[in-house]
Symmetry: C2
Subunit: 683 residues, 2 copies
């Protein structure tokens, strides 16, 4: 029965889907595009500005290099898109870069990619939210005045939404993304029309500013280094392109072809918007500086600490539509919204990758359950915590955060493309069909170029950004890598320890008899049930055991035992210190010493309650006793539950929780069919 | 084998005692006195000052009332000591005020006393530590400049010591307490000798100060009210007197008589020191004001915010021994140390009272285990947290904190003495022996006077201190009272719900057969052990169940099952979402629906590991499944442990922990023999 409060939610995000009906929702291309592209498309909101910002170090005159840098980004984008089109055809199962690298380059490469992607998800949140706040701030001054607070607030809201498991639908992504894309295109076209046809001169708010060059008269190697740094920053436009290769199963058939087409559409849109914004920025004389307070001059005087440097997209919009017009505000809002959606994709990607890693035993096994709420929550909280830390440390400054961002992406691009080259090599060794071979050779060429180019960019990024913050991202990767290999080593060690001998040989002492003990404190329903159940499992010896912590109670117990004529012998152990655990453990150990081949089976009546504070009031002694008993060899512990009335509360809560389905299912598509390459142990 | 690091500890606090050898350590009077008296004796370090402080409101001339107030405190002290001497004879079991009130006035009065005592323990810590820091600060300026920080630091150190379970010995208390008492007596005697015999005029550091009266020319009712307030503050000297009545079992025989004698000694010492210090303060012209910054004048000018008002005991010591002399510093250090010891007694008393309350089901049952480490830790942390909060809120100002202090003590004094009157009345109804009757009538007279006098003081305290902070203490009591009655109501409700029917009637559907299911993920040693144990407990039907979360693994499992010829049928359930819990629950529910009289017994192989992070890596699915299964009626869950090598770590840790004995055992004496008045349920 739907709750009344569900109605607005349903209107907003579509009809709630039970996870087992999810199999029927596959994405048409027009929905898949916004679902997967909010991350790469939104990056055009900050990438062009970053290019100008770095160039400004050499003074405003260096801005004339910006078209060349844009061209380099365009070439790179097409290379990457072309490369990933090969991926989606070769790996339609949606394994993504991690699978490609693991399969073709081995587990270490795979784990490196995974570490890079995990770091990347954290940065996607930090960068997108910070940029979103900056864009929103260009229309709403309050937001920019309380930048860090607003950014953290939005992360917290996103986190809570994802923890609650607000279900997403394609529409949720489609509307803002299409508004944003349309808005940017209208801006570009209207700007071009005004400039080229009407001959208007449009001025950005910073058009009359001057830039004081940090390093004037740069030439030779220094200039090239600066241009490479600007290019590295522009590469931020490429983040998120790889997402589609994880999401192939979510597409309608023919899945791979549709995914490849969507990828091409996304690339085209992204580069067009990127170039359009750079072009408009040139035309409207936008001025941006890395350190605006001292390097931006208004009437020859530095603008000072109070100055807020608005994002390039908002400055261009102000020039084209006029500041604070309806279109200006609409575009600022749409930009912010798309950036927040981009951040949200990391909330889906992070736990999803976590579950794949868990399947390969790099993370705790229980995470591998699809949509496991607890595992999902842990991932979400870890992601949000790391992102909040970064936002706080870097003052929600997208420019500073971007220095960290691109390393991870290009590590995973390069390794994935290298893996693809190996993939084709391997297939070419066995493939005999001429047409197919030709196709493969072509794909290999594309991937080889992709690997080479992205590898080059990775080196450029590392060289130009290392001291600016890329080391932080690398450190993060090393931490993830180290933790995950340690977990894997632990699982491997345990798997070895528990491996059963191949021949069913003589397993030391074979158990022969069962001695059953029912723990009793009073004669009440839970005890009677435990006794009844213990009798049903026919053991060789059955006795009831009670600890005398209170003489009066024990006397009463003994009397009632006899009065009711319970035909199980009652053994009483003294415990002057009112301990429960120690006497029981010692008694059990004694039994085992007398008869080493006996197995001792201990029945503990357990109260099942519904509320956490009731849990505190019950079973604590039983739980602790159980914990200790498990360390004693030759023992098994049976909990006989007695459901108190309040347990109904928990049942209802469980039912509600069972209906929860992990956010991100739209992107993941129906039931995961990723095949396992190697059988692995389980625990 | 003792660790090397144990050696200094052993030298410091005596040979470590295993708790079961504790029975042999009983306290001789010379050790019992410091063990129990550090709290009441240490209060002479602040109580006299508080009297002067309140009197100063009417100006320095009001100081001439101080001997009369001291006299009233002395009379009250003798009354209380005389009353409690009756208690220790009548209740040698060490139940204390809570037991006396519960037995004679009913559970509500008992719970009120318990709440008052719990609040009191918190305040003992807050007040003693603050006063200790002030005394230490009179010799070490750094301490007083960072008062709150130092006070909280010392609370944290005490807390850690108590959490670690540093064992106490009588000597630990004896040495500082005797140094303190001797020091104070030397001071009083030397002061008297100098003043009366040598005719020296001694000047306290504040002797030449003047006091600006807050209210000058007080008379009539206003004056009486002020004197009553001063008396209330002086009553702080009585806190902790009741402690001996809890500790009678710790005394050597004849227990009650020795306890009574110790009580008398303690009372005599306390009042002598109290009066001596007041007398010396008069003789050396000590000036103290409630608001020294504005009401203390030096050469006619207020001393201002920077002025630190040293405790009266330190001012007197400065006058008698000279400031910063060896004796002055020694006395300051001994005073501080005794005050910290007094705070430490609350760390013992709080969990001890908690365990008694748990026995009566006012607190979670597991707390009733004597020396249960976890329960003890919870109590300690709660106590420390509340004390730190108070110290922080009140700026570690002992004068402000004392306003809250005395309410709890006098609530428990009054109720306990009233209970004693009822106790004698009841006994007089049946007692026929003339001598005994005479004795009882005498005791009743003492207790009646005690009840009347302490009740009167309680009213005075409430009237004079309510707005000054006593309401905070009352609020604390109400919170404790409310929480504890709610817990008791919960236990009573559950006890009713689970009470077994008197006649062994037809218990709805009687279970008839057992269907055993062994959960299997792979064929390894833990699984094989679970299968072996399951076979031993002969059930009507036995099958192995595996969830197909990974097709390759499942295939491998099925093959290995056949290759090994395991003669248990293997059932495989599909789980497209890689869930474990849901398919199992649904399968079990299905079985129950088919055969409602079957009991389903589920065997889960459980890995036993030694470290917490390993626990995170294993058993999580099993634990969650178990949690859900317990909500299903007609199910029992058996854990078959498999001890991994790392479990040895935990075994060693457990062994170390088992040797832990709760601090406070010196005061509690050997095994608690407190008889239970009414049999109670247990859970």
């Amino acid at each position: 029965m739907p709750k009344l409060t569900d109605v607005p939610k349903r209107i907003l995000i579509g009809r709630a889907l039970r996870s087992d009906r999810l199999g029927e929702t596959l994405l048409p291309k027009r929905i898949a595009l916004p679902v997967f592209a909010s991350d790469p498309l939104s990056s055009v909101a900050y990438a062009p500005g970053e290019v100008l910002l770095v160039l400004s170090i050499a003074g405003a005159s260096a801005y004339h290099f910006s078209p060349w840098i844009a061209l380099a980004v365009v070439v790179l984008m097409f290379t990457v898109v072309a490369s990933y089109r090969q991926n989606v055809h070769a790996y339609p199962s949606g394994g993504g870069d991690y699978e490609v690298a693991t399969t073709n380059l081995g587990p270490k490469a795979g784990l490196t990619v995974a570490s890079a992607l995990l770091v990347d998800y954290v940065l996607t949140v930090a960068v997108s939210i910070s940029a979103g706040v900056e864009n929103l701030g260009s229309a709403v001054p309050f937001v920019i005045e309380n930048k860090v607070l607003c950014a953290i607030g939005i992360i917290v809201i996103l986190t809570l939404m994802n923890l609650r498991g607000v279900r997403e639908s394609g529409k949720l992504f489609a509307i803002p993304t299409y508004i944003f894309v349309t808005g940017v295109f209208i801006m570009i076209l209207w700007g071009a029309y005004r400039g080229l046809v009407l001959g208007d001169t449009m001025h950005a708010p910073t058009a009359h500013f001057e830039i004081k060059a940090e390093e004037s008269g740069l030439a030779g190697f220094a200039l090239i280094f600066l241009l490479l740094r600007a290019f590295s920053s522009g590469c931020a436009a490429l983040t998120g392109v790889e997402a589609i290769s994880n999401g192939v199963p979510a597409f309608r058939k023919p899945k791979s072809r549709n995914a490849a087409t969507t990828l091409a559409m996304m690339g085209t849109l992204a580069v067009t918007m990127f170039c359009g914004i750079i072009g408009l920025a040139m035309a409207t004389d936008v001025k941006m500086a890395e350190f605006p307070a001292k390097d931006l001059l208004r009437d020859g005087v530095p603008v000072g600490e109070g100055y807020v440097q608005n994002p390039v997209i908002s400055q261009v919009a102000a020039a084209v539509f006029g500041p604070d017009t309806f279109f200006f505000v609409l575009l600022a809002a749409a930009t912010a919204l798309v950036l927040f959606l981009a951040a949200n994709t990391a909330y889906n990607g992070f736990p999803l990758l976590g579950s794949i890693l868990a399947q390969d035993r790099y993370l705790p096994r229980q995470l591998h359950t699809r949509g496991d709420r607890l595992a999902f929550s842990n991932g979400i909280v870890l992601l949000a915590g790391a992102a909040i830390l970064l936002v706080w440390l870097y003052g929600a400054d997208s420019t500073k955060l971007i220095q960290l961002y691109i390393v991870g992406v290009f590590v995973s691009f390069t390794l994935s493309q290298t893996g693809m080259v190996r993939h084709w090599n391997r297939h070419l060794r066995t493939e005999r069909d001429k047409a197919k071979r030709r196709h493969m050779i072509r794909s290999r060429a594309i991937n080889t170029f992709g690997a080479f180019f992205t590898g080059l960019v990775l080196i450029v990024v590392l060289a130009t950004k290392f001291t600016h913050g890329a080391w932080v991202a690398l450190l993060g990767m090393v931490i993830f890598y180290g933790t995950m290999s340690a977990i894997r080593r632990h699982y491997d060690r345990v798997a070895e320890e528990i491996a059963a001998a191949e021949a069913p040989g003589p397993d030391s002492v074979r158990p022969s008899r069962v001695h059953t003990i029912v723990l009793v404190s009073k004669v009440h329903k839970p005890t009677l049930r435990a006794l009844a159940f213990a009798k049903l499992t026919r053991s060789d010896r059955l006795e009831a055991l009670s600890i005398n912590v209170d003489t009066a109670e024990t006397k009463q117990l003994r009397e009632e035992w006899e009065r009711r004529g319970i035909n199980v012998p009652l053994k009483i152990l003294d415990s002057p210190y009112r301990e429960i655990t120690r006497p029981v453990i010692e008694y059990v150990k004694g039994l085992r010493t007398e008869n080493p081949r006996d197995v001792v089976s201990i029945f503990i009546p357990e109260y099942v309650v519904g509320r956490w504070y009731e849990q505190v009031l019950h079973n604590q002694s039983a739980l602790r006793l159980k914990g200790r008993l498990l360390f004693t060899p030759g023992v098994m512990v049976t909990s006989v539950p007695y459901q108190l009335e309040s347990s109904e509360v928990a049942k209802k809560r469980d039912r509600r929780r069972a209906e929860w389905s992990a956010p991100g299912s739209v992107r993941r598509g129906p039931v995961d069919t990723r095949p396992k390459k190697e059988p692995t142990g389980k625990s």
